[in-house]
Amino acid sequence: MLEYAWLIPVLPFIAFILIGLLPKRTLGWENGGGYAIAGAGGALVLSFLVIWDVLNGHTLTVGAPRSTWLVIGNFHVEFGIWIDQLTAVMLLVISVVGTLVVVYSGGYMHEEGVGRRRYYAEIMLFISVMYGLVIADNYLQMFIFWEFVGLCSYLLIGFWYEKPSAASAAKRAFIVTRVGDMMFMAGLIILFKYVGVLDFSALFGQGANSIVSRGVIPQDMLTLSTALIFGGAIGKSAQFPLHEWLPDAMEGPTTVSALIHAATMVKAGVYLTARTYPLLVQTPESLLFVAVIGGVTALIAATCALAANDIKRVLAYSTISQLGYMILGLGAGGYLVIHAHSGGGYAAAMFHLMNHGFFKALLFLCAGSVIHAVGTNDMRSMGGLRKHMPITSITMLIGSLAIAGMPPLSGFWSKDEVLAGVYEGGQFDPIFFVLWALGVATAFLTAFYMFRMWFMTFAGEPRTAYHAHESPKIMSVPLMILAGLAVVSGFALFIGDGFKSFVEGSISGLGIGTAGEGAIEIAKTVFTDPLTYVTLGLAAAGILLAYRIYFMPGFDRSVFARGVPGTVQRALENRWYISKFYDDFAYKVWYGFSLVADKFDIYVIDGVVNGFAYLGANTGSTIRRAQSGNVQRYTGFVVLGIILLLVFVIYVFPWGGW
């Protein structure tokens, strides 16, 4: 089956072509939704077959069938597939969330009319290229699909392009991630310059076989290259300081936010970092950079979520924060691989990726259900929805508990594993203790803002007059499935040899000892670690605090408007002024620079060009007076010329030696 994995992206692509090109009256159900479900469902089936093979111990990493895409002299660009445990995790998330989101869209996008054709076509293109990204077996192929998902993200954020805010959010997302993409590309160019190939199999040798040991690339250049490749992840996974595009990306339809900006595309950066692990573990400086970016992002994004009133923006910041967790886990996990020969941190990050994919898609789809019912994103006009939307409120409660890290829901297990990995990294570099503290603080904030959102939305009394109703089955069934997954996906930790030793299989070449712990030992490790209870206690405190402030009567929330809390509140509402800083930078510094450049262009560059033109014109108008029209003067010049020529030929040339 693994050899046919290339069919996975092909099926949604065929759906994309069909939806895009078929005549209008053959589009059928939901203007192309039927084709979309068929494409996504087919890919889901194929993905599960592939995942089943991987679970049975088969992988396809070297020697897979490849096809040549481009030949330039001796340089061949080949496309191939690379299926290992890491790919399987990504396939699982993309196929499950992708299919459920497409089904859910059947209800959510029902009122969009003819725009649905564009919507389904773009969603199918996105799913197709996202699959292509995770099964690529070389960086170039990956980069091409990387750009494709960026394009789809742009198109779908700008789905309501007639709305100026959506159009500009789409542009912002595209341009900001492009900064990261350029870094990614620069990293690849460095690798290519030294190594000459971008195939994973050629780059990922370890020990004496590594590209540094073979003398192909100097150590410092490899460090630069991996740091730059991680720059791509900073852009795509919305890490600090390029994270501001993701909250703006909420201008797109909520289904798009759930699929692209929570479950899949933003995970591409984490996937890239995980995929680059064989190189990253050779460059500890880059790993430290990865970890610090992840930790800082997790905290900053969590604080921004505290003051957001738009339900989708809360979730967007929470996504950034959770992605920060994964990146932090990967950075710390690399230190564990180097010093402790353990793949625990790596596996924990990927575990969190999977769990987060499910519960964040769930949360977004719930938010979509709420928005669908109430008709606004603003939580201040919601409240009391619990009575009107029982399914949505309960599934969202499950999602919130999962992301807050309450046992036994999935978020508890993976968040605990990530934080344990980071703390363990502290033995090798004390900075990981600081990052661990950031992570724990983030866990507290996460629990607080998630329940602030839940209480503001579902609890209490309605704050505005709305006519809410529970969403139709086509929307609520995907919610229930995802809620089920949010509950059970954490138990993957205990099935068989456990999720962690499964994922560690994809970096088994890095000389790690497989843990191979049984379920009992894993559970024992989790529950005997005092740090688990620190995190858990703080998360519970966060929930209680949210309950006290946003649910129990009698709390005067106006304290947030005055004095020091007011200052903090305003800073949070303005997202720590990071967005403002970028705007100011663009408007003032960059605009000033552009003005100078413009003046330089007008006066210097154009001046030179125009100067030559004036010179030619003036010379011409001066010299043309020599054309007097007097035949005898012309003849005189001819005679003069002949005499000069003779003088030269007879006297000057012999004197000069000719």
Partner: protein
């Protein structure tokens, strides 16, 4: 036998006289006549070299003289064309003063 140098000096002087006439005279007909003088300077050279060649190599070579005859014939045709042009110029401008005929300019 007159040495070749004398002929060459003579023809050079003739050419110079003709050129002087072309450059200074205002009357187009005189200019045309001066051109004929310059042309004949060239003809004299041709004939002189033809004769010189015979003296040098001991056998007669008439090509120079043939060229001269051609040149005279062509000069005659050229004068006919030139006078015809002057005639139409005169009809148009009522003058054949070359200083006045200066429309060939910017």
């Amino acid at each position: 036998m007159i040495p070749i140098q004398y002929w060459l000096i003579f023809s050079s002087l003739l050419l110079a006289v003709g050129a002087y006439g072309v450059l200074t005279r205002k009357n187009a007909i005189v200019v045309l006549m001066s051109i004929e003088v310059m042309l004949n300077a060239a003809n004299i050279n041709l004939v002189a070299f033809s004769s010189y060649h015979t003296t040098l190599h001991g056998f007669a070579d008439a090509s120079g003289q043939v060229f001269a005859l051609f040149s005279i014939a062509i000069a005659a045709a050229e004068v006919a064309v030139g006078l015809a042009i002057l005639l139409s110029v005169y009809r148009r401008y009522q003058t054949i003063d070359v200083d006045k005929i200066n429309i060939l300019r910017w």
